[in-house]
Symmetry: C2
Subunit: 225 residues, 2 copies
DNA sequence: CGCATACTCACTAGATAATTGGAAAATCGG
DNA sequence: CCGATTTTCCAATTATCTAGTGAGTATGCG
């Protein structure tokens, strides 16, 4: 389109339609709402209303953006009764997203700054990568601090569900003899650092999971239901 | 920005700035001109005028888009005298581009169709991947059919330069006792299939390189100058 | 069947981006 | 320093995207 209208010096072949199609596809990544939705969907299949609630985007707008994600074949929709369930189309999509956000966080100054700002208010906590956590197995107490519904939708095997709001009451239930690893929703959720702070105040040795449940799932590791 | 203005139910932390920054970065991939420029730059450092010529994009527009690529830190600029040389910022960028285009070609219907259409006019030729070619070493005659300047800027080790326009005259110079592999510019260049057609007509056993020189360079394989 | 629920479609105003023409900046040769 | 070359900046036009509004569609339930 933008590319199509150039009348260039004659060329044997015309590759412009290919770049036009690529650019069309690339538009998916040009919008924060779509990226946010992808992160949420990745945590497990969910309905439009679910998505709107969990991501804070108005319902109709959520629906509209989902259409675009569907058109780009990054997500699939399945109807069950009156509800429509969306999920990530394939493992390849998760890989691509990992490549995209991973690159941005490491190499793009603005993104890095936003992430740093995001965590800036938190005390220093040593994070564990999803891969490292997988190796730790059940030598640690693994705490899922997301809302119970999120836990039900899918969680890291071996985790116990202690949503952040109830952690204060139940904090004494956490055994004190082993390291604790807390995780929350996605890469930019601060629930787990918050939980870690509370746990550390109780004398626990505590870590967070880098990238949260999203990173775990994106890494292709096993998800319990 | 687009994301910033939602007044959502209160949340402990606000991840929106991170998604805004990610979306900002993602815009780079939302435009065919920028994607085309990235493919050309990847073949070797070159000037703005060069880029404009080789990609068929008007000079000023080329410059404008390069500013964006630079702002996103995907390319770097180096001034030498009156010219400015652009190149890919890092190997990580090449990886990301490979992930992006690779996914699109495999999984996005529109892109796949555009690529198929692009090659549709050509006879069937068995392509060799860059990795396979690397293993073949110098058991084959490797022919670079790009313009001589492109060859000078960088080429696959062991290749001989026979630009498509001169191939007809020099076709008898190609030794007949071994397989021939022809390659051209980028993933969507048809010069090498064209050359392969001519060579096949002479009785050669001939292949093309999947993705051309761009794929070779993107795969991190050695480039001769 | 009528109604409620969950979602999608069509349209619009306002914001954003692409392209291009004119002018300015940086550099080099003389 | 002057003029030429290469590139960038600025501004205006055009095209495109987002988010919101109101209506429409699909399903299930009584």
């Amino acid at each position: 389109m933008a590319f199509d209208h150039y009348l260039r010096h004659p060329r044997p072949f015309d590759e412009r339609p290919v770049y036009d199609a690529l650019g069309e596809f690339g538009k998916v990544f040009a919008n924060p709402v779509r990226l946010r939705l992808l992160d949420v969907i990745q945590q497990g299949e969910c309905t439009v209303e679910d998505l709107a609630d969990r991501s804070g985007i108005p319902l109709k707008n959520t629906s509209a953006q989902l259409q675009q994600l569907r058109a780009a074949q990054l997500v699939t929709a399945r109807r069950d009764g009156v509800r429509v369930y969306y999920s990530i189309a394939s493992a390849a999509v998760e890989q691509l997203l990992r490549a995209f956000t991973g690159f941005a966080e490491q190499h793009v100054a603005n993104v890095r700054r936003a992430v740093d700002d995001y965590f800036a208010t938190q005390p220093h906590l040593t994070p564990v990568s999803a891969e490292q956590l997988a190796e730790l197995g059940d030598t640690v107490t693994l705490v899922d601090v997301r809302p119970a519904e999120d836990f039900a939708r899918g969680h890291i095997p071996g985790a116990i569900s202690v949503p952040l709001p109830v952690l204060e009451r139940r904090i004494t239930d956490i055994p004190g003899h082993r390291d604790v690893v807390a995780y929350c929703e996605g890469p930019y959720c601060l629930a787990s650092p918050k939980a870690a702070e509370m746990l550390a105040a109780q004398g626990h040795s505590v870590h967070t999971v880098l990238g949260g449940f999203t990173a775990w799932s994106r890494a292709g590791l096993e998800v319990a239901r």
